[in-house]
């Protein structure tokens, strides 16, 4: 849709506004973190451990230090004074608890053990290769099976007596599901340009949370927050891997401080697989008990979540389990199992995505045991109330998601027998699964300024990770001021701006809407006040409440004389000019003001008495179709219908894009993605794009997205909830269920591999 054809003012909310930053990206003029080549810039290159567990016996940098252009070699022998630990309570969150080069211990393959800083990247690379390291190596533990674990397994969400109910249930499903390590692979890799000027540190980062990044780095380096500025104007996506700082930021900053020069440090694609997070491996046993009519009587969700040696990270697989279905007896248990791998990190839909793979796969298996339609089973067990927290749902339309999706794919034509559906010489399989994700309104401040040049500036220290946040801000500013989108400038991704939220948990849109609206309304109010009180203004003497700002023009709302102020008659008479409207910029010139601005705030839902009475979640489902060609063991996903209940959609184009992208990642999760840890050394052995498979364009199914678009007014005045994560939940179990329907093979350990499909007894189409 061309910008000129968009509806005006408030109607712009809920339409498909194209990205206002789109042309900067397509023309290559958007500057990303590593595009900042500052004068006197030098390059840092990391040296990685080539063992997966043990100690550094010796590290000899004497040759490297004498090589051309080399300025500094950092390692555990000379770095202990550079960093401090970070308290999550006071400073913020980091991804790797242990500071880089803290000691001689190696906890995972690829761990940074030294860094070389040199005048050029080539010099730094050559010197990094010249560092001689010997190790005392131990065997790394990268055992895939997580169940041999005797650590604590805390319970949560216990209600009723799930074990008794399972023992008494006439129908039981008891299966174990696992998801592998999946590595975040945003197009833009991690990287830092650190610039220390002797007093102030500027960090150009690819960060999903500039404010947290600043707070953490200030604490790590022992510098006042006021002296640290983090800039992430454009981000080539993050998927959760860029929520919190990684060691390369610390190393670059420390090097810049030591050298008094700007330092650039990048994380290459190979390092992406070892050093900067991944979705951890999970292993989940699900036990479902049901009556013969399909009513759930018990759910037991016992899961193990893999983490690194030094970091306590749990993939909360049981988060959706307590409220997705109505069930009187339920418990979730958690086991955090350590392996010699790098620190995990949240990845799109953390917890929910692997958790719902297990729960929804088990529901499909229950439907088959009951000889019942899997949609029917879900509708029958749908919950009227959040039975985990015992609160009403703010807005839940999951049943309608299922009925709408069923209609779209033509579910009533489905025949449930394995391998029973054919089309164009291929076997067809259909599967379905549900999705859910938490909603909240997190704190945010934003400012809006009406400027003398006729433009509107919006400012907030949140960031646009590629999802459309710039555009959402512009839509709100347009809705409130009527100033056309091409005269609205949005400034994000800079800690010099009013504090905004981290781009995580699908919380940004619902957080920024109230603050941006509040700031816009206040700025407009102030502008009208100025118009009414400035001598020489055509509105001088009017009351501000009789004026309005529409389409960037201030005008009188009444055509007849109205009660005014300060004039002899106490009356203000509108003229043709004031009725037609005068650009606000003209009034600012008359008043000799550069602009008028206001700051707005979002009051968080967790401090809102009313919001706290409700269970706030989004819902949705995917219907997937696969094509199976047994003659050559070829499986392709051909169609996915996604129906989502995410509150009101503010930008249908950006919103649809989120669900489409998530479905594509879900196809990758189902069919391709797995980081393989080499058994001898614990190395992520397929750490490149030829060997770690992600979905290609050729693998894309026909994707169809529907939003129910029911506003959730408990969350904010627009009724918008987040949509970034939820789209990935439910894709994999919908596909594995479709695969079972087509092939008779139930894949409980992702990804689905040709090895699994070769077991199919459906041998011809």
């Amino acid at each position: 849709m061309a910008i000129g054809n968009l509806p005006n003012a408030a109607d712009i909310i809920g339409t498909g506004v194209p990205r206002i930053d789109g042309s900067l990206k397509t023309s290559g003029t958007a500057r990303y973190a590593l595009d900042h080549d500052l004068p006197r810039l030098v390059h840092a290159v990391a040296v990685q451990s080539t063992i997966g567990h043990g100690r550094i016996r010796s590290l000899d940098a004497t040759k490297a230090e004498k090589m051309p252009g080399v300025l500094l070699v950092l390692h555990h022998g000379n770095m202990s004074d550079a960093y401090r630990l970070v308290s999550e309570q006071s400073a913020g969150r980091t991804n790797e608890a242990r500071p880089p080069f803290a000691d001689d211990k190696i906890a995972y393959w690829g761990q940074f053990i030294a860094a070389v800083v040199a005048e050029t990247l080539e010099q730094a690379n050559a010197a990094a290769d010249a560092i001689a390291i010997t190790y005392d190596a131990d065997d790394p533990d990268v055992e895939y099976d997580l169940s041999n674990f005797d650590g604590p397994r805390p319970s949560s969400w216990l209600r009723g007596d799930p074990d008794k109910a399972l023992a008494e249930a006439p129908v039981v499903v008891d299966e174990t599901y696992s998801t592998p390590v999946e590595t975040h692979n945003p197009m833009e890799m991690h990287g830092t340009v650190a610039d220390w000027d002797g007093e102030n540190l500027t960090l150009y980062e690819s960060s999903q949370g500039v404010v947290n990044h600043r707070n953490v780095m200030a604490a790590v380096l022992g510098i006042p927050r006021e002296n640290v500025r983090v800039i992430s104007r454009f981000i080539g996506s993050g998927f959760g891997g860029k929520l919190f700082p990684w060691p390369q930021s610390t190393i670059a900053a420390a090097a810049s401080i030591k050298l008094q020069r700007p330092v650039k440090m990048s994380v290459d694609r190979r390092m992406m697989f070892s050093n900067v997070g991944h979705r951890p491996h999970t292993q989940q046993r699900i036990r479902l008990g049901a009556n013969k009519d399909g009513k759930l009587t018990a759910i037991r969700h016992d899961f193990f979540s893999q983490t690194s040696i030094n970091d306590d990270f749990v993939e909360h697989c049981g988060e959706q389990t307590p409220f997705l279905y109505s069930c009187p007896n339920l418990v979730v248990t958690t086991g955090m199992v350590r392996r010699n791998v790098g620190a995990p990190a949240p990845m799109r839909g953390p917890g929910a995505v692997p958790g719902l793979f297990a729960l929804e796969s088990a529901m499909d298996e229950l439907a088959i045991k009951l000889n019942m339609d899997p949609v029917e089973l879900r509708l029958m067990n749908d919950s009227e109330r959040d039975e985990g927290t015992n609160k009403p749902f703010s807005s839940r339309h999951l049943k309608e998601c299922y009925t709408t999706g069923a209609e779209k794919i033509g579910w009533k034509k489905r025949t449930p027998e394995v391998g029973s559906m054919r089309r164009d010489g291929k076997v067809i399989g259909w599967g379905v699964a549900g999705a859910s994700w938490a909603a909240a309104r997190v704190p945010c401040t934003a400012s809006v300024e009406l400027c003398q040049n006729g433009r509107v500036c919006v400012r907030c220290a949140t960031q646009d990770i590629g999802t459309g946040t710039y555009t959402i801000f512009a839509q709100v500013a347009h809705a409130e001021t009527g100033v056309p989108l091409d005269r609205i400038d949005v400034f994000l991704g800079d800690t010099g701006l009013p504090e905004g939220p981290t781009s995580g948990g699908s919380m940004v849109t619902s957080a920024i809407l109230p603050a941006a609206t509040d700031a816009s309304k206040t700025a407009v109010k102030r502008m009208l006040q100025i118009a009414a009180t400035t001598p020489g203004s055509p509105f001088h003497g009017a009351k501000a409440e009789h004026l309005e700002l529409t389409a960037g023009l201030i005008r009188t709302t009444s055509q007849s004389p109205v009660q005014g102020v300060a004039l002899e008659k106490g009356e203000f008479t509108p003229t043709r000019e004031t009725m037609q409207g005068i650009p606000f910029a003209e009034i600012l010139r008359i008043a000799d003001l550069s602009g008028v601005s206001a700051t707005g705030r979002t009051h968080p839902s967790f401090e809102d008495e009313n919001a706290r009475k409700y269970s706030l979640h989004s819902y949705g489902c995917h219907f997937a179709e696969v094509e199976w060609e047994p003659e050559m063991a070829r499986l392709r996903v051909s169609r996915i219908f996604s129906v989502f209940d995410c509150g009101r959609i503010i930008n249908t184009k950006a919103g649809t894009n989120q669900i489409l992208g998530a479905a594509v990642m879900g196809v990758g999760m189902a069919l391709f993605e797995q980081t393989h840890y080499e058994p001898q050394r614990g190395q992520p052995i397929n750490g490149n794009f030829a060997d770690y498979l992600v979905t290609t364009c050729a693998d894309l199914p026909d994707l169809n997205v529907t939003f129910l678009d029911y506003p959730d007014l408990i969350v904010n005045e627009y009724g918008a909830r987040g949509i970034g994560e939820i789209g990935m939940a439910g894709v994999a179990p919908a596909i594995t269920s479709a695969v079972y329907h087509a092939t008779g093979v139930r894949v409980r350990s992702l990804p689905i591999r040709i090895e699994d499909l070769l077991q199919s007894k459906v041998l011809s189409a």
Binding site: E631, M632, L671, F672, N686, A698, I754, E755
Partner: protein, 328 residues
């Protein structure tokens, strides 16, 4: 990456004179491996200015392909599409359009394995993974490591690395002849003799002598009345090396197979001409039962390891289905 010299001669004789160097054409394998320090040439001899970029008809009805003909130009050449469709299909199933625009015919013959251990910078070195291809005698880490993509045919106790090329599988069934020129003059090598089995010298991958340069690949006159197909099976639909592939050229007369060539990719240490499959097919009825027997024969000697056992069954389906497609 190590420092290296660079020359760009204009004639074949001058290029061959630079025998201390490594030839570089499209660079799609060599540059990649140089970045990983797997290849560390002292000098790169850039052969892109040599007059070896033509596709010409031969008087005997065959086709001469210059070593510098790009994969995309070869795949879309009208004669290749008409007379050697299996080659066009194989080329287009490989890599990505960008890579095919760079990669050359000669370079593809020299393509090196995607064995993850071989590609590790320190493989074969002290402290690195064992790799007999990198350092003979150092061992093979893939043998008991993660070996899902590795070979089941033509392996030895010293190496199980898969030959990754699609083009070469088609060249094998087309019975190409490779022309080379070196310090001792010109000679030709039959395609089947070009790539070497690993045996106990997995570091020796082909029949080239030091300093020899591939100049042309000749394809014989197309087989009259033959049909062909290239079938590639892999995890995803595009941009991935084969887990199993099959190239077929055959002619059926009166329901019986009168001419047949079968080669396999993705499962063997070299482009794998399956004489066993051909023997099981020749003179037999062109039906599913015959195809299945041929597939069994082709894989009878397969030696799977821990993670690649599925390739035996996958290759059988690949052969059977490729034969079905070729006779359809």
């Amino acid at each position: 990456m190590q420092t290296f010299g660079y020359v760009k001669p204009t004639g074949v004789d001058k290029a061959i004179g630079q025998s201390a160097g490594n030839f570089i054409a499209g660079g799609t394998t060599l540059v990649d491996l140089m970045k990983l320090s797997v290849e560390q040439p002292k000098t790169l001899v850039d052969i892109n200015l040599l007059p070896l970029d033509k596709i010409e008809k031969l008087p005997n009805g065959g086709l001469r392909i210059g070593a510098l003909v790009r994969n995309s130009d070869l795949a879309w050449n009208a004669d290749v599409k008409k007379d050697y469709a299996v080659l066009s299909e194989a080329l287009l199933s490989g890599a990505s359009p960008q890579l095919r625009n760079m990669a050359t015919t000669g370079g593809n013959l020299m393509q090196r394995t995607r064995c993850m251990y071989f590609r590790e910078p320190s493989a074969g070195m002290p402290g690195g993974y064992a790799c007999n291809k990198r350092t003979p005698g150092s061992g093979c880490a893939a043998m008991d490591g993660f070996n899902r993509i590795h070979a089941v045919l033509g392996t030895s106790e010293h190496c199980i690395a898969t030959h990754p090329s699609d083009m070469c599988v088609a060249m094998a069934v087309l019975e190409a002849t490779i022309h080379v020129q070196g310090p001792n003059g010109k000679r030709t090598i039959a395609f089947e003799d070009f790539h070497k089995l690993p045996g106990d010298t997995p570091n020796i991958e082909n029949a080239l002598e030091p300093g020899e340069l591939i100049t042309f690949v000749d394809l014989p006159k197309p087989v009259a009345g033959a049909k062909s197909t290239y079938l590639k099976l892999r995890d995803r639909a595009s941009y991935e090396f084969a887990l199993s592939s099959a190239a077929i050229v055959l002619r059926v007369e009166g329901g019986h197979i009168r001419y047949v060539r079968v080669a396999l990719g993705g499962v063997a240490t070299k482009p794998w001409r399956s004489h066993e499959a051909e023997k099981a097919l020749l003179g037999k009825r062109a039906d599913l039962e015959t195809f299945r027997k041929a597939a069994e024969a082709a894989m009878a000697e397969a030696k799977p390891r821990k993670d690649n056992a599925f390739k035996v069954e996958l290759a059988k389906r690949c052969i059977t289905h490729a034969l079905t497609l070729a006779t359809a």
